[in-house]
C-alpha cells in the first residue's frame, strides 16, 4: 500500500531536484548574457577574463562590467529573490494566493516619506542625494510595517488586516498626491523615477547593505518554515500542534516587511514579481511545502528579475524601460493563466 506513497515521494524529490537544477542553469545563463551584452559589447572570452582575473582594470569593458553590470546583476538577483520570498510569506500569512508583498501598504508608506524628503531636500540642497532616497523610503516602509504590526495583534480575522493594509495605502497615496500638487515638476522627477522601479542605480555599497538584510531575512524564513507548514492546515490545527500562532504572524509580517522595505528602498516598488513568482514555483514543484518553497521562490525570483532587467535594458535600447513595465507585462498574464488552470485543476 505504501508503495504508491513512496513512489509519489520519489517522484516529488526528483521533480524538486530538476526544478532547482533548471533554476541554477537558467540563472547562470541569464547572468552570463546580461554581463556580456549591452551598449558596450564584449566577447565571452573578454568577460571571463575580466571577471575571473580582474586584469585590464583601465579598459572600458572592465569598468562597465565591474562598476555597472555586476553590481546591477547582484542587486537584481538579491532584490528579485527578496520580492518573491516576501510574496510567498505574505501569501502564506493570508492564505490568499493573490496577496503580494506590497498589500500591507509598505510601498505607499515609502513613497509618502520619499515625497516629503524629496521636496524638503531639493528645497534645501537643490537636489536629492541617492542615499537620502534609500533612507527615506526604508523609513517610510518600516513605518507602514509598524502600523500593520500594531493592528496584527488586535485583528482576529486576517482578511481585515488585508483591508487595513489597502486603506493605509490609500491614505499614504492621498498624502503623497497632496504634496505633489504643490511641488515643482523638477522636485518630483526623482519620485516618479523611483515609483517606476529600476535597478539602474546599483552600486556595490547598495549590494552589500541589501545582501545583509536579505540573507538575514532568508535565514529567518527558513527558521519559520516548520511552523509555516503547520499554519497551512489552518490556525486551529497550527495552534493545537503547539505553534505560537501570534508569534508566527508577527514573525511573518516582520520578515515580509523588511524584505519589501529593502526592495522599495533600493529599486522602488517593483510590481508582480511577489505575486507571480511563488505561483510559478508552486506549479513547477507541485508542492506548497515552505521548506522547499522558501529557497525555490528566492531562486526563481532572482532568475525572473535578472531576465526582466535584461529585457528592460535591451528591448528598446538605448532607451531603458522601467523594471515594473517588464515584470508587469510578463507577470500579469502568467498570474491570469495560472489562476485559470488552477481553477480547472481543483474541480472534482
Amino acid at each position: 500500500m505504501m508503495k504508491t506513497e513512496n513512489a509519489a515521494n520519489n517522484r516529488n524529490a526528483a521533480r524538486c531536484c530538476a526544478v532547482f537544477l533548471a533554476f541554477i542553469l537558467l540563472y547562470a545563463a541569464a547572468v552570463f548574457v546580461s554581463v556580456r551584452v549591452g551598449s558596450v559589447q564584449t566577447t565571452a572570452k573578454e568577460v571571463l577574463h575580466i571577471v575571473f582575473t580582474g586584469d585590464d582594470s583601465n579598459s572600458v569593458a572592465y569598468n562597465v562590467i565591474w562598476k555597472i553590470r555586476l553590481p546591477r546583476l547582484a542587486l537584481a538577483s538579491l532584490l528579485g529573490g527578496a520580492l518573491a520570498l516576501s510574496g510567498f510569506l505574505i501569501q502564506t500569512f493570508f492564505r490568499n494566493p493573490i496577496a503580494g508583498p506590497f498589500v500591507l501598504g509598505i510601498s505607499s508608506g515609502a513613497k509618502m516619506f520619499l515625497a516629503v524628503a524629496t521636496i524638503a531636500l531639493t528645497g534645501i540642497f537643490g537636489k536629492m542625494p541617492l542615499s537620502a532616497t534609500v533612507v527615506a523610503s526604508f523609513a517610510g516602509s518600516l513605518l507602514s510595517l509598524l502600523l500593520v504590526l500594531l493592528f496584527t495583534g488586535r485583528v482576529k480575522n486576517m482578511s481585515v488586516l488585508l483591508v487595513i493594509g489597502i486603506m493605509i495605502s490609500y491614505i499614504c497615496s492621498a498624502v503623497t498626491d497632496f504634496l505633489i500638487n504643490f511641488a515643482k515638476d523638477s522636485e518630483i522627477v526623482n519620485l516618479t523615477h523611483w515609483s517606476l522601479g529600476s535597478f539602474s542605480g546599483a552600486t556595490w555599497q547598495s549590494v552589500k547593505i541589501s545582501a545583509a538584510v536579505v540573507f538575514a531575512a532568508l535565514v529567518a524564513a527558513f527558521l519559520l518554515s516548520k511552523p509555516m507548514g503547520a499554519y497551512l492546515l489552518g490556525e486551529g490545527y497550527a495552534q493545537s500542534l503547539g505553534v505560537n500562532v501570534k508569534a508566527l504572524r508577527v514573525g511573518l509580517i516582520i520578515v515580509t516587511g523588511v524584505l519589501s522595505a529593502c526592495v522599495a528602498a533600493f529599486a522602488g516598488p517593483i510590481s508582480f514579481v511577489g505575486i507571480a513568482v511563488p505561483h510559478i514555483c508552486r506549479m513547477l514543484l507541485k508542492t506548497g511545502k515552505p521548506l522547499v518553497m522558501v529557497p525555490a521562490s528566492f531562486m526563481c525570483g532572482a532568475v525572473f528579475c535578472v531576465l526582466c532587467d535584461f529585457a528592460a535594458r535591451m528591448l528598446f535600447a538605448p532607451t531603458e524601460l522601467s523594471i515594473s513595465t517588464v515584470t508587469s507585462a510578463v507577470g500579469a498574464p502568467i498570474v491570469i493563466w495560472l489562476m485559470l488552470s488552477r481553477r480547472r485543476g481543483n474541480e472534482y
Binding site: 504508491t4 489552518g234 493545537s240 508542492t287 521548506l291
Partner: protein, 376 residues
C-alpha cells in the same frame, strides 16, 4: 460519581466557565473522563458544544475554572507538551493547496520533529500506522483537496491519531458524512478508545449514535449543562425532547427513531396491526395527515413504539396476555365510530386471537376493510 474518578481521570473539567470575550456562555462545567472513555456532547445548534470543545483544546481562553489534562493544569502546560497529549479534529474547513494526504497527516508529527520538521523513519511509521487505522492508506498519495468528505474526515482523524495523543477532541466529526461513513468513523473511534486507550471528547448531532458509542453524555443547552451521565441515565424520552425543545414529533430513546407529529382530529381509521406489520400503515397515515387509532397491541410489540407517538388512540394489552374486557370493548367502540378498518395482515396465532376477533367484528358491522396501503 466524579469524585471517585478524579485520581485516574485523563481529562477533568473543574467548574469551567466558557464564553467569548469574557462574557460567560456556560458556567460551572464539571466533568471527568477516564482513559479509553468516550464522552459526547449533545444539544441543539448554537447550544455551546463547540465553545466547550474549543475551551478544552485551548483554542479559546476559559473565563474561569480549570481543565486538567492527565492531572495537570492545562494553563501550566506548554504548547508542544499539550500537543503530545491532546489532538483535535475541528470543523474549520481549510484546503491547503498542493498537499498530499500523507503530508497532511504527517503534520501531526509536528511536536516530535526537529527544527525543520524533517520526518524520521519512526515518524513515517507513525503516519503510516495512523492512516492504516482509519483505512486511508490507499489515498496517501492523493491531493487533500481532491478527496470526498468521508475520506477527508478520516484523514483529519488520522492526523490527530498520529500525534499520538491521550485525548482526542472532535467537533462534530460526523457532519457532512453519509450513513455508512458515519458508522465507519464512529467504529474507528470506538476501537481507538477501547483498544488504543485514547479518551475521546466529541460533539454529535446524531443522538441515536451518541447513545450507542458513548460512555458518558453531556447535554448542553444554551446557558447550562442540562444533564450529565451515562447514556442509560440520559436517554429517557423526556430528556431528549426537553433538550431539543421538541414540541411536535417525538424521539424514541430506546430505538433511536424519530417520528413526526401525529395527525389530530376525528379518528378515521382503526388499524389492526402487530409484529411490525402496522408500522408502514401508521407512517403512511401520518404522511397523509389522517387521524387514526391503533390496536390491540401487546406491550412487547414493536408496532407499539411507532403507534404510540403517531396514533390518536392506542388500545394495548399487557405483554403475553389477553386484553382486559374493557379494552376489548374500547377497541370495538373505536371500530364502530371509525370510517373503515385497516387489516395490516399481521400473522395471527393463539396469543393474538383478539385481533382476528376485531376484524370479524368490523365485517359484521359492515365496515369497509382495507388490506393494502395503496387503497387508503
Amino acid at each position: 460519581m466524579n469524585t471517585e474518578n478524579n485520581a485516574s481521570a485523563k481529562l477533568r473539567l473543574d467548574s469551567l466557565t466558557v464564553g467569548y470575550n469574557g462574557v460567560p456562555l456556560i458556567s460551572d462545567i464539571t466533568l471527568s473522563l477516564a482513559r479509553g472513555e468516550i464522552l459526547t456532547l449533545i444539544g441543539p445548534n448554537g447550544a455551546g458544544k463547540s465553545t466547550i470543545l474549543k475551551s478544552i483544546a485551548r483554542q479559546l481562553a476559559a473565563i474561569s475554572g480549570t481543565v486538567y489534562l492527565d492531572g495537570r493544569n492545562m494553563r501550566a502546560l506548554g504548547g508542544k507538551e499539550t500537543a503530545k497529549k491532546l489532538a483535535v479534529v475541528l470543523t474549520e474547513r481549510v484546503r491547503p493547496e498542493l498537499m498530499t494526504c500523507f503530508e497532511f497527516v504527517s503534520a501531526g508529527r509536528y511536536p516530535y520533529t526537529g527544527g525543520f520538521g524533517a520526518l524520521t523513519p519512526r515518524d513515517r511509521e507513525a503516519v503510516r500506522s495512523a492512516m492504516e487505522k482509519v483505512n486511508a492508506l490507499d489515498i496517501a498519495g492523493k491531493d487533500i483537496s481532491r478527496i470526498s468528505d468521508g475520506q477527508r474526515q478520516r484523514i483529519l482523524l488520522a492526523r490527530a491519531i498520529c500525534q499520538e495523543p491521550e485525548v482526542i477532541v472532535l467537533d462534530e466529526p460526523t457532519s457532512f458524512l453519509d450513513l455508512r461513513h458515519k458508522i465507519e468513523l464512529l467504529g474507528i473511534l470506538a476501537d481507538m478508545a477501547k483498544n488504543g486507550g485514547i479518551s475521546v471528547v466529541m460533539s454529535l448531532h446524531e443522538i441515536d449514535l451518541a447513545e450507542r458509542v458513548s460512555d458518558k453524555i453531556v447535554c448542553v443547552k444554551g446557558d447550562r449543562i442540562a444533564a450529565y451521565g451515562t447514556p442509560r441515565e440520559i436517554f429517557t424520552d423526556g430528556t431528549v425532547k426537553e433538550l431539543y425543545d421538541i414540541e411536535s414529533g417525538s424521539f424514541n430513546a430506546l430505538l433511536g427513531s424519530i417520528e413526526l407529529a401525529a395527525p389530530r382530529g376525528e379518528i378515521k381509521y382503526f388499524v389492526v396491526g402487530g409484529a411490525g406489520y402496522g408500522i408502514p400503515f401508521y407512517r403512511a397515515l401520518q404522511k397523509r395527515g389522517v387521524p387514526f387509532a391503533a390496536g390491540i397491541l401487546p406491550g412487547n410489540d414493536i408496532d407499539l413504539a411507532v403507534a404510540l407517538p403517531l396514533a390518536q388512540k392506542v388500545v394495548r394489552t399487557a405483554p403475553y396476555s389477553a386484553p382486559k374486557e374493557e379494552d376489548l370493548a374500547l377497541a370495538k367502540a373505536l371500530i364502530d365510530s371509525a370510517e373503515a378498518v385497516i387489516d395490516c395482515g399481521a400473522p395471527s396465532g393463539e396469543f393474538n386471537s383478539f385481533n382476528a376477533e376485531l376484524i370479524s367484528h368490523a365485517s359484521r358491522k359492515g365496515k369497509r376493510i382495507i388490506r393494502s396501503a395503496e387503497k387508503l
